[in-house]
């Protein structure tokens, strides 16, 4: 009997690689669109730039059904606890991309009302600068995220997620203790963290 040549029909790989390959090529975005960056995101989804090439055709506006939170636009201090709740309700594995300068650092809005960067309240994986970033820029950002995902290890626990949930518990404790609304508690946590030299509350 002739030797069976399996070279082209069987490939061997590591579990890490396969799982990461599957995850990075099927990133379902949650477009948390609040401002102009969301318009550029729509451009990116449309046919010319076609974000669905990256497996991201399925836009799910629910945290339960998506794994990549794309924060597109300005996040105000009033919106900060809402963003934290949405991130909390996403199932792991989850990643966050801060699209645009407003999400990355507060952008041109250096005021009492604008959150100076979402990384103060949620852990961020990739920052895409621009006001708004071009669709190619956002695609580059997601490709960087894909590179990060391919380097991930399956067994390693994500410390930033744990820290985030602990900060959420701390926020709820403070709400109970001081009887304030979630908006005021998060604002105070942000100002406290800033005063102590750090920037993030998670």
């Amino acid at each position: 009997m002739a030797a069976i040549n399996l070279d082209d029909s069987v490939m061997t790989t590591r579990l890490d690689s396969v799982v990461n390959w599957a995850r990075k090529n099927s990133l379902w975005p949650l477009p948390f669109g609040t401002a102009c960056c969301a318009i550029e995101f729509m451009s990116m989804m449309a046919s010319r730039y076609d974000f669905s090439r990256f497996g991201a055709e399925a836009l799910r506006f629910s945290p339960r059904q998506s794994d990549m939170l794309l924060v597109l636009g300005t996040i105000t201090n009033k919106q900060a606890p809402v963003l934290r709740q949405i991130y909390a309700q996403m199932a792991e594995p989850k990643w966050v991309v801060a699209v645009g300068v407003c999400a990355s650092s507060g952008g041109m809005y250096r005021t009492y009302a604008t959150l100076q960067g979402i990384d103060r309240v949620v852990p961020v994986d990739v920052y895409v600068p621009g006001c708004p970033p071009r669709p190619e820029g956002m695609i580059f950002g997601v490709m960087e995220l894909q590179k990060q995902i391919s380097r991930e290890s399956l067994s390693a626990r994500k410390e930033h997620v744990e820290q985030f949930y602990r900060s959420l518990a701390r926020q709820e404790e403070l709400q109970q203790a001081r009887g304030l609304s979630q908006y005021q508690v998060v604002r105070e946590m942000v100002l406290e963290a800033g005063a102590q030299g750090g920037q993030r509350i998670w």
């Binding site: 009033k78 250096r110 009492y112 609304s181 908006y183 005021q184 942000v190 005063a195």
Partner: protein, 165 residues
């Protein structure tokens, strides 16, 4: 003209008037404000476009509450400014104009000017237990957050220059 008719019927109500490139503005004393608004409503100015305020910090009065009215029939617009002292309340126009509801809430939220007779005078843009009134001149722009200023960003890297320098 409408303003002459107001002056004729309510002498002393109008403190000042000026026009600029077709924009008519009258400054009305607080005591006769409601009478002037009723008169204007009768004249056809039946749409309240906006209520806002300015923090002037002049010695006589602190705020100036600004109303914009539109006459849909003649397409005439009129701006009414009412000087209001710090802590004094303004009568609410919610009885006459539905659009005054949220506009007055916004002014209350951002300036702290209370409106008497408003059905639900709570904060609109900021959250309910936000301390202070942000658009007052004595409220800091960054709200007490030092990371809003450019200098903090510049300190991250020794080579970076502050854009203000």
């Amino acid at each position: 003209m409408v303003i002459e008719r107001i002056e004729a019927q309510l002498p002393g109500a109008i403190l000042d008037r000026h026009a600029f490139r077709g924009d008519e503005t009258v400054t009305v004393a607080g005591a006769s404000f409601l009478a002037v608004v009723d008169l204007l409503f009768g004249e056809g100015f039946q749409m309240l476009l906006d209520v806002t305020a300015v923090d002037l910090e002049t010695p006589e009065f602190r705020f100036e509450v600004v109303y914009h009215l539109l006459n849909l029939a003649s397409q005439a617009r009129l701006r009414i400014k009412v000087p209001v002292a710090d802590g004094a309340a303004q009568p609410s126009l919610t009885g006459r104009f539905k659009s005054a509801d949220w506009a007055e809430r916004e002014v209350f939220d951002l300036f702290g000017i209370p409106f008497e007779g408003h059905p639900n005078l709570t904060r609109l843009l900021m959250w309910e237990d936000f301390p202070g009134h942000p658009l007052r001149k004595d409220y800091p722009l960054d709200g007490g957050d030092p990371f809003c200023s450019n200098d903090i960003g510049a300190s991250y890297s020794p080579e970076a220059r502050s854009l203000n320098a």
